[in-house]
């Protein structure tokens, strides 16, 4: 049985309509997953505004926030797709592929 004194933080994700993405909505404190779901329901759907809820223990989330990895100091503009025109390359590749199919 859970220790009621040991509250944990649970991150809550909400889906507004079937097929929509699960969007992070906030968090609740609860001693365990069962009460976390009840509280998520009260905070994020008691007015009927959710189709689906997820709760995830915050300490089960793997986090990456190292700026050296996420925002390295050098110019990153060459990593953006806009600088490369690949339309002709893609068409040529498709043609090669269809020729290869035809000769099989």
């Amino acid at each position: 049985m859970s220790d009621l004194q040991a509250e944990r933080v649970w991150e809550v994700f909400r889906q507004e309509a079937e097929g929509d993405p699960m969007i992070h909505s906030g968090n609740v404190n609860a001693p365990d997953e069962e009460l976390a779901l009840h509280y998520a329901r009260e905070f994020y759907s008691r007015r009927g505004e959710s189709q689906r809820l997820w709760v995830v223990a915050r300490d089960a989330i793997a986090e990456l926030d190292d700026p050296d990895l996420l925002r390295p100091p050098f110019d990153r503009s060459h990593k953006r797709p806009g600088g490369y025109i690949i339309k002709h390359k893609l068409e040529a590749a498709k043609q090669r592929a269809s020729r290869a199919d035809a000769t099989e």
Partner: protein, 254 residues
């Protein structure tokens, strides 16, 4: 207005009033936790469940008002405290958290048995309302069951308080199934598809296996003949609270 025979309409009115008063009074008692529940999340949950119960009471009072050509607000707020017909289980104040969990567990399980029967009522509007109420009560049951298990399996202090509260409330819990005037007519016409003794038997077989490991042997106690008319000073206080606004501006609309 109703096309029921007058005697049957009178009996249905008794049933609606008893059920509505149960929901109304537990809703107001549990709303006493607003702001002071064990944690903020639980505060919101308890308050929201209390609101649900008052919402169910409102629907039942409106059905009663239609049946008797009266005003739902006047029925809800316009009676003297000794005219309420809730079960004696709901005369008690909230006291501590374990006591409130014990009371809600006893009430929610009894209400679930009653609603399951009413969902099969031959009086179609009542059957439809009961089916709608059951969808919300499903969550109430899950929530209170989660708390019963946590207190029962948690630290000794909570477990002892829970056990003591269950034992103390057990006789009054039977009164949810106290006999109703006109019950025989309701059962004969299947407005109430099962008699109160049959409903109580179903409830006992459901809760005893869960509660006796917590509270010890729970005695066979028949519902009291005045189980829905006996009122207490605690309830008189609550009645003063929940009628305060209605009394201060009689006839006001909102």
């Amino acid at each position: 207005m109703s096309d029921l025979q007058p005697a049957l309409a009178q009996a249905l009115a008794e049933l609606l009033l008893a059920t509505a008063d149960d929901e109304f009074v537990i809703g107001f008692w549990d709303s006493e936790w607003t702001g002071i529940a064990p944690m903020i999340e639980e505060d919101v949950a308890t308050s929201s469940i209390a609101q649900d119960e008052i919402g169910h009471a409102r629907a039942l009072y409106e059905m009663l008002a239609t049946l008797t050509d009266a005003d739902a607000d006047a029925i809800a707020f316009g009676r003297e405290s000794d005219a309420y017909r809730h079960a004696s289980l709901l005369n008690h104040p909230c006291r501590d958290w374990a006591f409130s969990v014990a009371r809600r567990y006893l009430y929610e399980t009894a209400d679930a048995v009653r609603l399951a029967a009413l969902a099969g009522s031959a009086h179609e509007p009542l059957a439809q309302l009961a089916a709608k109420m059951r969808r919300e009560e499903t969550y109430h049951l899950l929530h209170v069951d989660a708390w019963l298990r946590r207190l029962a399996e948690g630290a000794p202090d909570g477990r002892q308080r829970l056990a003591a509260a269950l034992s103390e409330l057990w006789p009054d819990a039977q009164d949810v199934f106290a006999p109703l005037a006109g019950e025989a007519a309701l059962v004969a016409e299947r407005v109430l598809p099962e008699s109160m003794p049959a409903l109580r038997a179903a409830w006992l077989s459901r809760v005893r296996p869960i509660l006796e490991p917590i509270a010890g042997a729970l005695p066979d106690v028949a519902p009291s003949p005045n189980g829905r008319t006996r009122r207490t000073e605690d309830f008189a206080w609550l009645h003063g609270e929940f009628t305060l606004v209605a009394r201060s501006q009689a006839g006001a609309t909102w």
